[in-house]
Amino acid sequence: MASAKILMSELDERTIARMVAIPHDEARISYYLRKNRVTDFNEYTRVLGDYCNHHFSRCISHGGRLSDAQATSWAKEFVEKEYRRRGGDIVTAYNDAHDGTNGGIRAQLDIIAEGLKAEAIERYIRDTFDHHVAPNSWNTKVEIIRQFIDYCGVHLSNSIRRDQPERYAQNYQELIRSYVTALQQTSSIFRRL
């Protein structure tokens, strides 16, 4: 029997932190970086790949390692994606690592760590949903939405029809995710009071 309460408690940010985020933070903290700059692009990619493998081995595969090429490529994807968001690219990132600017190589290892952590959290959330609500079970989706509306309905928009959970069953993940995200944002505000 699906339970919205248990599902929500497993999606609570503290649970996610305990189950997923803290081990990733510990993987980042445990990596020793001897210097914050690199001398050339080969060293740059080697450091990124080495860190990616360290992180992967420590809290994803628990011992297994990626090939150097795969680790380096994955690491560069995270860094380049973040730098493109800021209007740069992998060359900008390399220049920062070379010159020690904008946090040097340390900040780029943080980007990789955050990227791996975000992916792990996403996988955890998807797995939690699938564990409680089989994607092929329409009745379970309707039931989880019915419970969700009973449990959290008072906080939801008036436009949500409480008597028709079937309307939202197909999008049960989006509805619950957006509620959980909103809760995280309010928690952040409350922490700062």
Binding site: E13, R14, A17, R18, A21, I22, P23, H24, D25, E26, R28, I29, Y32, L33, R34, K35, N36, R37, Y83, G88, D89, I90, V91, T92, N95, D96, D99, G100, T101, N102, G103, G104, R106, A107, D110, Q184, S187, S188, R191, R192, L193
Partner: protein, 214 residues
């Protein structure tokens, strides 16, 4: 820079340096250049962060939280200021300085907020709190470094030189200042010229990031 500093001789005579053709302003701008101030200090702090060891990603108690932050603060200071022999943590003083930074970042109860984050592992956990402290320390050291140069510079100028320096600055860097502030002889900029100088390295640093991928 020397090209930027080439001015008519009569203008130079008013306030140029004693041994080179660089004006006093040019020397100051060189000294507070972001590569020498913001980037160098930030890099020292980054190295200090890299060399600090924490065993866990979350804390169990308030006491553990304070101890880690005090040790971290002291470690950064020892590395950045190259204190030799290294000083030991001073719990009362160091914690007071940490809480000031946490309040700036997280609000009036910043220490409690940071503790909650470090204990629960949410919002980046303990590591994010340490990075906040490091960022504020870097900003404080850079501000002190830049401020001391500007203070010495400003104190060495006569009233006439101060006017001439602000004019020289506006001639060279006026294009970086919003046009509305340049109207009417840039009175507001001249009135707060000290502040403009303090912000100069940050402005140059931001501009330097443009097209760094090229």
């Amino acid at each position: 820079m020397s090209q930027l500093c080439s001015r008519p001789q009569a203008f130079l005579d008013v306030y140029r340096g004693e041994t080179t053709m660089k004006t006093k302003l040019c020397k100051l701008i060189d000294s507070i250049n972001p590569a020498h101030s913001l980037d160098r200090i930030s890099n020292l702090v980054d190295n200090a962060v890299n060399s600090f060891r924490v065993r866990r990603g979350a804390v169990q108690s308030r006491e553990e939280f304070e101890t880690i932050l005090i040790n971290f603060f002291c470690h950064i200071e020892n590395v950045v200021l190259k204190i030799n022999p290294q000083r030991l943590p001073h719990p009362d003083i160091d914690w007071g300085r940490c809480t000031n930074m946490l309040r700036k970042e997280y609000g009036p109860n910043g220490d409690i907020t940071a503790f909650e984050i470090a204990k629960s592992g949410t919002e980046g956990g303990l590591y994010s709190v340490l990075k906040v402290i490091a960022r504020h320390m870097a900003a404080e050291y850079a501000s002190n470094y830049i401020g001391s140069y500007i203070s010495d510079f400003w104190g060495s100028l006569s009233a006439d030189e101060k006017l001439a320096v602000s004019k020289e600055y506006l001639d060279k860097y006026g294009h970086l200042i919003p046009s509305e502030l340049m109207e009417g002889g840039a009175v507001r900029v001249r009135a707060f010229f000290w502040k403009v100088l303090e912000e100069h390295p940050k402005i140059v640093q931001k501009l330097r990031n443009v097209n760094r991928g090229a």
